[in-house]
Amino acid sequence: MMMRMVWQRIGIGFATLIVVSIIVFIATSLLPGDVAQIILGQSATPETLAALRAELGLDQPWYVRYFSWLGDMMTGDLGISKAGGATIASLIGGRVGNTLQMAALVAVISIPISIALGLWAAMHPGTWLDRIVTFGTLATISVPEFFIATVLVLILAVELQLLPSTAYLTGNESFGQLLKALAMPLVTLVIVVSAQMIRMTRAGILNVMSSPYIEMAILKGVPRKRIILRHAFYNAIGPIVNVIALNLAYLVSGVVIVETIFAYPGLAKLMIDGVQTRDLPLVQACAMIFCGTYVVLILLADIGSIVSNPRLRNPK
């Protein structure tokens, strides 16, 4: 029962990736502009343009190009950048490391904080500290992230001069220097993603708290702390892991604004650059990485909620 559901989810995830690849391919084909024109610039003659198009395979019908692209991707060949000639794998390689490094640091800090704060707020609903948490997280969610980033730059970098305002990496910093360089985007992202996770944890727990089995636990004289941690938390895991997965996926793919503000060389920024230079293979590769991240993380979250459900784990 449980394994069947897990396989089902994996199948759905795979199908999603295929559909997404078609959409990505068609959407990027629709982008205005001609790569051959961009590469050759003003000096292009119709003949050289046609020759370059044939060399790049642009004269083939879209489905032929799609399958050859898909085939290449499956075998790990992401293609060659159409603007600059470097392999896309080498362009992306360094950036993936940067992005994953940032995402991992944010996750390590924000997930424990969020769950702890969410649980804590759920344990003391209606108190003034709970209200501060509720209001604070709501405010953070409502304010755009570039505003938070800008305010942080203003306070920490400009006024107090504690931290650098950019996070440009050279590649041979010490760990201390690295942390200092990353501190600003890190803090911004932790604030942004924690808010949602805190609210979801709190709401999930409070939702379970109105169940009859929680009232039963109260009537058994179980202390409130144990009620939350043992009786309520296990039943609220499903929604909590889902919101965590969404936020982790966002950390990989959605942080372009934060990366831009702090000039952090991440994957999202690379994709934007790709769009600007009409570098279609690069855009496609980035888009597929982002989609893949989402699919894998949501899949993990689904499997997490299936496994945390005793009904599915232990059939009758």
Partner: protein
């Protein structure tokens, strides 16, 4: 008897209130006094809203959210629990006083194993170590006659049946050897057969452990089996209290007498109204022919999870057909097939002589309008965000194209039909009581102007007095409109008082059907017998007498199991013929016009079994009357 025992709990002048929207005090419990002695079972009885649950929770120093204690004391061994510190109260709850809720299914945490939940309170309050608690839990599982007692604790709540969970909750309450147990309607949601099993187990452990208990219920017949002392409550006040014997056999207060009158009587023939009505014509209105249905899709004409097998049921115009059987027998599935919500794997549904499409989607608007479904839980069937006027108005618009003033007028008419004021149209479901919501639920179906109403356990969630009123309303509606009813219920008495014909369903097969008076008179199908003898009687000592019967011993021990061949009842049947019953489909035995029994035993054998049972029963009654063992005549 109780006087020379030690006083355990003294409840004196207990008052509990709530605050309304204007911040004024609303008194819920208005000064209640009673005592509980060691080893004594005190029953709190009354209808919903009488404050019985609220009062019982006071012994745990707990109120439901929104309520507060506004006066009086609850003294455990002379110490008021209401004025204890929160830490002391925590030790009281689950330590001195243990609570058993109505629905064990909702009360067990789905994510934690049974054993951890059963032993949690005892270990937490330091009454036992984890090892001692585990041992005691297993002892209790044995005492409560749970199957696989040594290992049942490792399972999760969803892996055991409802009746087992209810008994496991008793183990949870008893594990820490509490001074007092509070049982809040612990058998109300159960089938009659399961109820007996649970009652028997409760009674046994209460006696063996010599613990005291508060038993909250609205069912006097159940009270008669377990209580030593009865407190009758109405609107937060004690109407009358006394020994069980005095209250049941010699009630003084007018309200107690009224409660006794509304208590469900033993189902017997002649309870229903005679079928004399201008609307009654002997034409089949809706009919199900050779129907097999189940869930999980259909493979080779057989459902993957079979429920119903070879069903033939017909409802004549203006008649009420009651469908009875324990949960899991396929009663709701039958109604779902008729309504088109579940297409049958084989067989036909016929309306007014015309074959209906199996699936709802392919039925015409007119066919949909003629067959209406009334769901059990009005709470979930009514959209909480819609006004009553819209809920009833929607089918008027959809089926009959009524709008504006016309629709408004019709809504008022329909509200009057279900005996509610027209002003209710501008209210939300939330503002109504349980009984009123069920009336709206019926009104919604009536608005379609149906020929057949499929009522699925519509009175099961209501207490006896409110339920009796809904039945009265249904009877009036039937007489006024000539609608046919398929009335599903696990409560035999309700069916007996309302139906013209009864279909007895067991594990997806019809075992007996016919006019109500014939089905409820011997000879019975062995399953019909089991159901009838499981309905508690308002007589002290009934439970013990019943358990002596042969069919109860076999019938109660096992549950409903759906089989693909033979008679599914054979493993619970005292008359089963080995090698035949489990292999071959039982033959149909026609008794009178329209009365049939499906059984391998002959009618003569069934009649003989009935005579024997009566003799045994009369023997017991004689012992009771003469207080001596009768000598052989």
């Amino acid at each position: 008897m109780a006087e020379d025992k030690e006083k355990l709990f003294e409840i004196e002048g207990l008052r509990i209130s709530a605050k309304n929207d204007e911040g004024e005090e609303v008194k819920i419990v208005k000064g209640v006094d009673f005592n509980i002695h060691k080893g004594e079972v005190v029953a709190l009885i009354g209808e919903s809203g009488s404050g019985k649950t609220t009062i019982s929770l006071a012994t745990l120093a707990y109120t439901k959210p929104g309520l507060y204690f506004s006066g009086g004391e609850c003294r455990l061994f002379g110490k008021d629990v209401l004025s204890m510190s929160p830490v002391e109260q925590r030790d009281l709850r689950g330590g001195n006083v243990a609570y058993l809720a109505q629905s064990a299914a909702a009360t067990f945490n789905p994510a934690i194993t049974i054993n951890e939940q059963v032993t949690e309170a005892a270990v937490l309050h330091g009454r036992l170590t984890q090892e001692e608690a585990n041992e005691r839990a297993i002892e209790l599982y044995h005492a409560l006659e749970l199957p696989d007692a040594d290992r049942i604790g490792y399972r999760y709540p969803h892996q055991v049946s409802g009746g087992q969970l209810q008994r496991l909750m008793a183990a949870m309450a008893l594990c820490g050897k509490p001074d007092l147990m509070v049982l809040d309607e612990p058998t109300t949601a159960l089938d009659v057969t399961t109820q007996i099993e649970v009652l028997k187990a409760f009674k046994k452990v209460i006696r063996e452990q010599n613990s005291a208990a508060i038993y909250v219920t609205h069912d006097l017949a159940v009270v008669a089996q377990v209580a030593d002392h009865i407190v009758v409550l109405y609107a937060g006040e004690v109407m009358e209290q006394g020994s069980a014997d005095q209250i049941i056999n010699n009630p003084q207060h007018a309200y107690t007498k009224r409660l006794m009158a509304a208590a469900r009587p033993k189902p017997t023939s002649g309870m229903g109204e005679a079928v004399t009505n201008e609307h009654h014509r002997d034409i089949d209105n809706i009919e199900v022919k050779d129907m097999t249905a189940g869930y999980g899709g259909i493979v080779d004409g057989e459902p993957v999870v079979p429920i119903l097998r070879d069903i033939n049921v017909s409802v004549r115009n203006g008649h009420v057909v009651g469908v009875i059987g324990e949960s899991g027998c396929g009663k709701s599935t039958l109604a779902r097939v008729m309504a088109g919500m579940l297409p049958p794997a084989r067989g036909d549904v016929i309306l007014d002589g015309k074959k209906l499409e199996g699936s709802l989607k392919n039925r015409s608007l007119e066919e949909l309008q003629k067959v209406q479904f009334v769901f059990q839980m009005a709470d979930t069937a009514l959209n909480p965000k819609q006004l009553i006027g819209n809920i009833i108005g929607r089918p008027l618009e959809f089926y009959h194209g009524l709008t504006g003033k016309e629709k408004h007028k019709k809504v008022s008419e329909i509200l009057e039909m279900v005996e509610l004021p027209p002003a209710f149209a501008s209210r939300y479901p939330m503002e109504l009581s349980g009984g009123q919501k069920q009336r709206i639920n019926l009104a919604r179906s009536l608005a379609a102007n149906p020929e057949v109403m499929l009522c699925d356990e519509v009175t099961s969630a209501l207490d006896s007095i409110v339920g009796a009123n809904v039945i009265k309303l249904l009877t009036d509606l039937r007489n006024k409109t000539g609608v046919s009813f398929v009335f599903i219920s696990h409560d035999l008495s309700t069916v007996a008082s309302f139906a013209d014909e009864i279909v007895v369903l067991y594990a997806g097969r019809v075992v007996e059907q016919g006019p109500v008076n014939d089905v409820l008179d011997p000879p019975f199908h062995p399953y019909t017998r089991l159901l009838i003898s499981s309905v508690p009687e308002m007589r002290i000592g009934w439970l013990e007498d019943t358990m002596q019967k042969r069919e109860m011993a076999v019938g109660i021990a096992r549950g409903v199991e759906i089989t693909r061949r033979g008679c599914p009842f054979y493993n619970r049947c005292p008359m089963a013929i080995e090698g035949t019953c489990e292999m071959d489909t039982p033959p149909l035995r026609q008794l009178k016009e329209g009365h049939e029994i499906h059984c391998h035993q002959t009618i003569e054998a069934l009649e003989e079994a009935e005579r024997e049972a009566q003799q045994i029963l009369h023997g017991y009654e004689k012992i009771g009357e003469d207080d001596q063992i009768p000598t052989a005549h």
